[in-house]
Symmetry: none
């Protein structure tokens, strides 16, 4: 089944201003529509009932009720019990609550992640001569993880967590290379700079960032969006990082699935190379 929220994004360009307001609202707060009648919802948005119906038809869900049902199916029932982690929680309580946050973030990410962009990113990575992955601070470990994965499938990947080196590396890329920048906020100066340089040198640039316009999206050929609701204690944006990891994981899985036997062999070689490291 296709995600209704994703569908909304891909049809966004065809919509008029009124329908876009509806799409914006639904993407921002999908579950708010559920208890409302079409007239209530239209009033809330500031448009007529007919526009809502047209919007629903465009998405191919029949009508207003179909829209509500589609949205309902997309929202996890867990998203409501968004229990806030509190000081008095036991460590285990925190674990359980964090699980809830992660689930929500992953599902939200599934709804904003663009199918075509994902496919394009996977193909660009597979066929590139060289892949460089930039992350700093929080995102550094994600970059390292991605490097690790790509190396396992025999790709020429390297992560770089040093802002000087990032700029240097970027300036030596060419059109057969891929540069991947990871920044949750989309505003990390150094990462944006590194991708900008990479783009100037005709490399394919890919960003992994939280949903929305930001400096990084402007210098990226392909944007892969995560979506996580930040809360007070998630300064580290844990759930968005999990979403980032999962994106890399599915790129990796896709590359394995679409590789020739040589690549599969490379994976097996890796496995056997590691065998004697175990007791």
């Amino acid at each position: 089944m296709k995600s209704i929220l994703l569908n909304m994004r891909s049809l966004y360009n065809e919509m008029g201003p009124g329908e876009r307001k509806i799409a914006d609202r639904l993407i921002a707060n999908p579950k708010a529509i559920l208890p409302l009648s079409i007239t209530e919802f239209a009033t809330e948005i500031g448009c007529g009932d007919a526009t809502v119906v047209r919007f629903a038809k465009r998405l191919g869900v029949g009508g207003y009720q179909g829209l509500k049902l589609a949205v309902a199916q997309e929202i996890s029932t867990l998203s409501d019990e968004n229990a806030q982690i509190s000081k008095s929680d036991s460590c285990y309580d925190m674990f359980v609550k964090r699980i809830g946050e992660i689930k929500v973030a992953l599902e939200n990410t599934a709804s904003v992640l663009d199918e075509n962009s994902l496919e394009a990113a996977a193909k660009a990575i597979m066929h590139s001569k060289r892949i460089v992955i930039f992350g700093l601070g929080n995102s550094a470990s994600i970059a390292v993880d991605a490097q690790h994965k790509f190396l396992r499938v025999g790709l020429n990947a390297s992560a770089c967590n040093d802002n000087h080196m990032q700029a240097i590396i970027s300036s030596h890329l060419d059109e057969d290379c891929v540069a991947i920048g990871i920044t949750h906020s989309g505003q990390s100066t150094d990462i944006v700079q590194a991708l900008k340089i990479a783009k100037l040198n005709s490399a394919t640039t890919i960003c992994i960032t939280n949903y929305g316009e930001s400096p990084i999206t402007k210098v990226s050929d392909i944007c892969l969006f995560t979506k996580s609701a930040e809360t007070k204690h998630s300064i580290l944006a844990m759930s968005s990082r999990i979403a980032q990891l999962t994106i890399f994981d599915c790129l990796y899985t896709y590359i394995i699935a679409n590789s020739d036997s040589k690549a599969i062999q490379a994976i097996h070689n890796t496995e056997s190379a590691l065998k004697d490291k175990k007791l």
Copy 2:
């Protein structure tokens, strides 16, 4: 929010024959109701519209539309659980299926993770003079991530991904230190060796590993277990690694919540130190 299907079962005894027929049908095939109007559904069941409405009210979902919405929300969570990733999947399909795996792994981990061990680990880490975190290969990035977190709360943490250095570092620990070893299989020779040395030097040893007895559990004072079902393509044990990350995340969160104002200040300092790195 409570499960509507479970609620149906618990109210089953209070229902008359007509309503029970509705419950039976919904439990057997919940999604069949979604495209039907109340009259169509009632005809299908063989009862009147009013009975359907009464049934919905009993469940506390307002009316027929509320019933449909509640069912819709419930089937979404059940739908994509046991899907195996296949070669022909799109990259997006893979993402969605991977999400399902991760959810299961996190829930399983919640069930095997020992509350007391978690608490003990958090306390040991908080009060230690020095924390060293060992990971190799796959687990290296987890170790780096953990280091990053602990540094943010002002702890003296260092990750080490070099097996020689791990042994050297371990041999210089003492009873005020904590050594954390990460290995999914629990069999990584070097990690086990490093923890063994740490233990000999009276450091507190903590392992993060998949559920079950293994060499690493024998040399660990505290064992934190994850539990993930491995499948063919998850050579990289993606979901178990997410579980590992989540464990570290809740340790981190717990430490923040139970720190004095000095530690909180350390976090704020980190934040402001990073501010000018953004555009």
